[in-house]
């Protein structure tokens, strides 16, 4: 079953040339796929489109269609979208805005109007998934970069999305946290999550099944 699909996608920012066109990408259920390409090739932009952030939050001319678990993303509400796809960004500092780890993770489920008991369960579960349970009451500004990224991942996991997109999220991590996040991704994959990882060097990610490359404004499937 195809969980995430981009069909004939083309994109340009307002008053800018076309960044890419004829982009077709498919990620199946339980699959972990890498997206690679040079800086400025449009990897992050493609992720934003696949996560529905473009054009919902960021303006731009999008052509083509994105299907998320069978439904076209444009037809989904924000609540439905965030429950289906979660995205982890590169910079941990710009992803944390709450005073404590617990507050940060509670933010997403609170937006979905979940009951407090369910929010508590999700906080505990997502912290356990990223091995950060003992930091529940810690202040976010006192964490290391690696720990911050793990908290940001826990905050995304608390929304329990089926599809996870890592937009160069491993880049700022030291080797310890890099390995830890790969382990977590492997566990998530085993649990049936759909994973798309943007990386400059997909060889560093040992768990990917397939690799796509954005080059010359087109997408190419390259084999590992």
């Amino acid at each position: 079953m195809i969980a995430l699909e981009g069909k004939d996608l083309a994109f340009s920012y307002i008053d800018s040339p076309v960044l890419f066109s004829n982009v077709n990408i498919q990620v199946k259920k339980g699959e972990c796929v890498a997206l690679t390409g040079a800086s400025g090739s449009g990897k992050s932009t493609l992720c934003h489109i696949l996560a529905g952030i473009i054009p919902r939050s960021i303006e731009g001319n999008v052509q083509g269609k994105v299907f998320l678990l069978g439904d076209e993303i444009q037809t989904l509400s924000l609540v439905q979208t965030v429950q289906r796809v979660g995205m982890l960004f590169q910079n941990p500092d710009s992803q944390l805005f709450s005073p404590t780890v617990e507050d940060e993770i509670a933010f997403g489920p609170e937006n979905l109007c979940l009951p407090r008991e369910e929010i508590a369960r999700r906080i505990a579960h997502s912290l356990q998934s990223v091995q950060m349970s003992e930091f529940r009451q810690a202040r976010t500004n006192e964490l290391s970069q690696g720990q911050k990224q793990l908290v940001a991942l826990a905050a995304v996991l608390a929304l329990e999305p089926k599809v996870l997109i890592f937009d160069e999220a491993l880049a700022p991590l030291d080797s310890h946290h890099h390995g830890l996040v790969q382990e977590i991704i492997q566990t998530l994959k085993r649990r049936g999550k759909v994973i798309l990882i943007v990386e400059h060097d997909p060889e560093e990610i040992k768990i990917v099944d397939r690799v796509y490359e954005l080059r010359d404004r087109r997408i190419w499937e390259v084999y590992k």
Binding site: S57, L78, V82, S94, T100, E102, G108, N111, C113
Partner: protein, 244 residues
């Protein structure tokens, strides 16, 4: 007292700042400043951070007070050299009032800076204020230190290119400062966009209501403190305006 409900702390802040704007008598202002300082420490502001914040503020405060003292030339002469009067009583009074006013505002702000943002948001939301407005307010406050760090990063970048800001005259220094405004503002806009994207990617604004995991409830000591504050405030204002 540190764990008082954020609404009581907000009430205390409103009373202090209102008093600071209303009182025009140096004795009253001094009383209010003492009350604010004690309140600040009792309500949980960290003394070290407060002193550090006050030190940062001292240069600006001295400048404002000096302006009042020099240019307010009414009342009885207090200090003069030969026949030229340097200081008038009204100028001195005004200078003291302005200094204490800023001090009170700083005290009041210090308490809210130390308060847990999420508790404040929960408290404001429970008071019926739309959650988007509460988040907007606190996100704006969060950007002030970020703005300052962006500015100091840009200053370091300039100095790494060989400009020794301490050794150049003020007019040239101002030129360098003005050239930093655009990149610093652009950086703040980019950060704001990133923050908005992250918040929306986690469903912020998706529904007209949201639950709050953090719950705040007015306890007996919160009500007692609030009633005491109201009583004290009413008594002080009546005494100030009507002298009984």
């Amino acid at each position: 007292m540190r764990d008082l409900d954020p609404r009581v702390k907000l009430l205390w802040m409103v009373i202090c700042t209102t008093g600071a704007l209303v009182f025009y008598d140096p004795i009253w202002m001094m009383g209010l400043a003492c009350f604010s300082l004690v309140g600040t420490l009792v309500l949980g502001a960290d003394l070290k951070s407060f002193i550090a914040r006050f030190r940062h503020f001292l240069g600006f405060l001295s400048f404002v007070v000096l302006l009042q003292v020099i240019f307010n030339r009414s009342g009885a002469p207090v200090l003069s050299i030969n026949s030229f009067v340097l200081l008038y009583s009204a100028g001195l009074n005004r200078g003291i009032i302005i200094a204490l006013r800023y001090f009170v505002i700083l005290c009041a702000a210090s308490v809210m800076v130390e308060e847990n943002n999420r508790k404040v948001i929960a408290a404001l939301t429970q008071m019926g204020i739309p959650y988007t407005f509460s988040f907007m307010l606190l996100t704006a406050l969060r950007f002030l230190p970020l703005f300052r760090s962006s500015f100091s990063n840009a200053l370091v970048a300039i100095q790494l290119r060989g400009v020794e800001l301490n050794k150049i005259p003020w007019n040239k220094r101002l030129y360098f400062y003005s050239s930093l405004i655009l990149p610093v503002v652009a950086d703040a806009v980019v950060r704001a966009q990133q923050l908005a994207t992250v918040m929306e990617a986690r469903g912020f604004g998706a529904l007209p209501q949201r639950t709050s995991y953090v719950q705040v409830a007015m306890k007996f000591k919160d009500w007692t403190f609030a009633i005491l504050l109201f009583g004290l405030c009413g008594f002080a204002f009546k005494l100030y305006y009507f002298k009984f």
